[in-house]
Amino acid sequence: MGGAAAVVPRVAFAQKPIPRVGFLVAGDPEPAWSLFKKAMTGLGYIEGRTVAYEYRSADGDGSQLDRLAAELVRLKVDAIVPILSPAIVAARKATSTLPIVFFGAAPDIGGVDNVARPEGNLTGVFSPSSTLAGKGVQLFRAIKPTPAFGAIVNAQDPFHVPLLRDIQAAATAEKIDLVSALVESRNTLAGTFERMAEKKVSGVIVQPSLGLVACAEIALKLRLPAISFRREFADAGGLYSYGADPAEIQRLVAAAVDKVLKGAKPASLPVQQVTRMELIVNQRTAKALGLTLPPMFLAQADEVIE
């Protein structure tokens, strides 16, 4: 007779390959890239051990995006995270099967038909940037008289169409003349700003996919008050930014990626709208431009860079 002790079977679990996430960014890679990794770490992922990243940045050169997206698809990553509309479009073109978790204006450019129940392989996070643009322009009027205002948008980014439309609507409501300029490639960026400066506009609003850091620096050099949607713009010398909190954006993106890596279908994850909007003001730039910011305006600011 054998022993009575029951033996617990030891099952050897096969080492599963660690999931890989492709990060595809149009416009400024930072702080999005760092914030995303930080959010993933917050969810318990450890780079190199429980998750691997494939980072691809077009560095403001939109023509590279298709190639980079195709590369990620070839690598068969478990999720692609495109940041901003040109990257979303490139990822959409490259695959209709690999899960895509985006940040950008996909609902505004027709990438997602039903926000609550997205179809296909696409879900993500968006901020209502085109309506926020109107709010941004309205805020600008509190700073200085604005008979004319400029909008510099990215011709390679399909989002420039709804964006210009909403800016135009805001300008009309506020009785401002809108001067718009399309940037065809990044070589013409500086030239476009220079021509805009010659048109005597009081200020200019800049589309993020043009590269916010470069735009902020050019505008500051031309002493052109410039605004945009993301904190990094104000950090880089833009006058102010009004828009979604980048950290919250990446937290939401990372949460969706987490669910996808755990097997959820993108179609089962509603596209989320960012909740927190922030106004970041660069007081130094204001001073350099000789602008005095009124207390009412400052009272609305979430952060003032001194």
């Binding site: 309506t131 709010k135 309205q138 509603p270 709208q273």
Partner: protein, 953 residues
Amino acid sequence: MKRGLFFKYVMAFVGLVTLVLVINAALDLSFVYQDNRRASIDVQREKAEAASQKVESFVREIEHQIGWVAYPQWAALPVEQRRFEYVRLQRQVPAITELTQLDRNGHEQLKVSRLSMDVVGSDIDRSAEPAFTEAIANKVYFGPVYYRKESEPYLSMAVAHGGRTGGVTVAEINLKLILDVITQIKVGKDGYAYVVDSQGRLIAHPDISLVLRGTDMNRLAQVAQARASEASTQQVAQARDLSGRDVLSAHAEIPALKWIVFVELPSNEVLQPVINSGLRDLALLALGLLIAGAAAAWLARRMLVPIRALQAGAQRIGDGDLGHRISIKSGDELEALADQFNRSAGALQESYETLEQRVDDRTAELRESLDQQTATADILHVISSSPTDVQPVLNAVVKAAVRFCGATDAVILMRQAEEWSGVAHEGPLVSAIGTAFPLNRETAPGRSMVDRQTVHYPDIRSLDAVEHASERAHAERMSFNAVLCAPLLRDGTAIGAIALRRREAGAFTPRQIELLESFAAQAVIAIQNVRLFTELRESLEQQTATGEILEVISQSPTDVAPVLTAVAKAAVRFCGAEDAVIAIRYGDFWGAVAHEGPLTALPPEARLPITRETAPGRAMADGVTAHLPDIEALDPVEFAAAHRMGKEMGFRAALGAPMMREGVAIGAIALRRPEPGPFTARQIELLEAFAAQAVIAIENVRLFTEIQEKSRQLEIASQHKSQFLANMSHELRTPLNAILGYTEMMVDGLYGSLPEKASTTLERVQSNGKHLLGLINDVLDLAKIEAGQLVLAVEPYVVGDMVTTVLSATESLARTKGIGLSATVAPGLPSGTGDARRLTQVLLNLVGNAIKFTDKGSVEVRAAQAGDTFELSVVDTGFGIAPEDQKKIFEEFQQVDNTSTRKKGGTGLGLSISRKIVELHGGAITVESEIGKGSTFKVTIPVHVAAAKEAAQ
């Protein structure tokens, strides 16, 4: 060892202990479960209550914050300050996305939004909205939950400012921010809380995706139940969550918002302590079993040692070790049992030894029998594969006989009449294949065939020297000393024998004898088979020959020559002859009409008298088959002609079969052969069959020719008759017309007035003349039709007119007889095309007949259309026509033959003419009638008849 005593003892012991422990454990678990559940339910209740308070306080806090701007004088502040305060409020309360100020009249004064542009003084009238009216009435208003972009859950909250000028502040609250509140609520390890609105839609849930998708929670039983029950008391229920897990669910309502907060804990979490307790009990059970098992084993072992010894001993004996003896000295029943075993083993050992010998013997027998069966099967195989040739089978049989019957040698002998000879042989001894021996009882094969019994001579030298002289001589010559011989019997007749021979003297065993007899039977089957097959083939060939000749007969009905040639050819082919001649009788002579073969034949024009000197002549003269096997051996006088022709044409044997028709020979068919010798019975039979077929062919041709000639003659006669009738009627009509013409003139008084008597006579002459003319006209018409001279004059006609004409012509006749006459013509009939005069004649004939054969009642004419045809019916209430007469009445010169019709007169041609006219139109005429009830004649004619239709003959 199967389930032995040991096992049973231990099981009984262990079972008892297990039962006690299990009952104990079950009671324990039950109490633990009850306690635990009660505790969990209490906790759940509290949690639900706390959660609802937290959610409510989240909303109340927002209300409280809005309260800071909601004072009566606020509306009077400058717009910039109001805007500033709204902005500040939004910064303090992140959930507020939009703030709107409505003035005392409900008009929008200011709107500050995080997401869109601020609007100042739009003055939009919102006084009808519940946010305004309810807030004014109740100070605070909470709207229903709604979804922005169909995804983000929002709540409108309105707070009245109070006072006469106060107005209302409306805040749009993003409910996503309750998420923080909800996720903070911890219930157990995996428990969670969620909130649904009054419609059952999800407002807040730790999984934000469910909220954004607007999940309808009503499908969960606990939600539906909570919404249905009016009371806000918290109930705890066993339920399932969205993913189907069992949960313990509790809820609490927030009355102000009509929201329900649910707190749920997975049931397995509640059960965890129960599971732990269960594991403890299980361990106790295992321990108890171990102890019980050990105790049972010790007790059982003491009982079991002698039983095991007994069993082991029995097993060894059972395994065949019959010499083994069991030794138990326990002094009880077990020892007695062991002794009993030992005695049984001894007895078994004894009987076993004899059994072995018997099995060996039987095995040898079986092997032998198997070999023999194999041999039999081999022979049957050879039989089936050789249906036409018996020799291979006989060879196989002798081979098998040598092999299985322990003989030196085997021979098969076949009988031919009163002799026999060897046909198959196997073995080293000299055999007499081909030599014929007389059939008598002196030899073993002869004796077996004569006696139809197996003959067995174990030692030939010891046989009687006189009686078996031949056999002894054979044995001496061929050096064998023992013989066994079995006859081949078919239907009780010996057709041969099979013999086994052996050099050494000695008896064959009964088995060998039996086997030889079975080989004999198989040889008979094989021979039988071949015979049947050959017969079948011959019969088939004969049928083929007959078939071929019949085909030639059917193809050649008028000419006899090809048939006879075919018969001659077939005779050569199937009778196995070289040469065949067919002779035909011409009065007292005969001549050759067909010949097949290499010998010279009579030239076709040659004629020989029918005498008994030749085979054909003799056959024709006697009417029986004449068989001349050797002509030269025959009497040279009686068969002079045969001798002469045989020499001239080179044949020595001849066979002649007569061709008989009605007892008379009309010819003969003869076979000839250059060598002498008899023709076989089969050849004779076949030749007679061919003779019969030749007769049929000749007869056929004769009949055919006769019929053809007769029909030609009939046709000519018929034409002559028609021509005669046509001419005759014409010749009759001419003078009759003159008679009628003159009579009419006289009646009309052209030749002066006549006395009354003469006038009456003339009228009779006139009426009879008219009748005669009618008859002649009928005959003429019929003759014309018969002679093929009647041609239809096709023209358009109207059926109604035709009927009217007929009615007016027959009206007086009907009136005279006192019967009704009417017509029914269907309205809208189209006009037809056809020979109107002839059709009128048909109708007139029918109506005339009807009146003629009707004594009371009425006659009716009906005309109607059916598709492409007109249907004209004449219906009377006359005598009627018997069914057997209904066909005849349309034939020439036929009337229904009875007294009543005969007195009505007529030629009997009317209906016949009518039928022909109607048929010329491509129509038909039919009658339906019943004796005593009347008749209906129906004419069917096509509405349009093709023009100029020839009278076909």
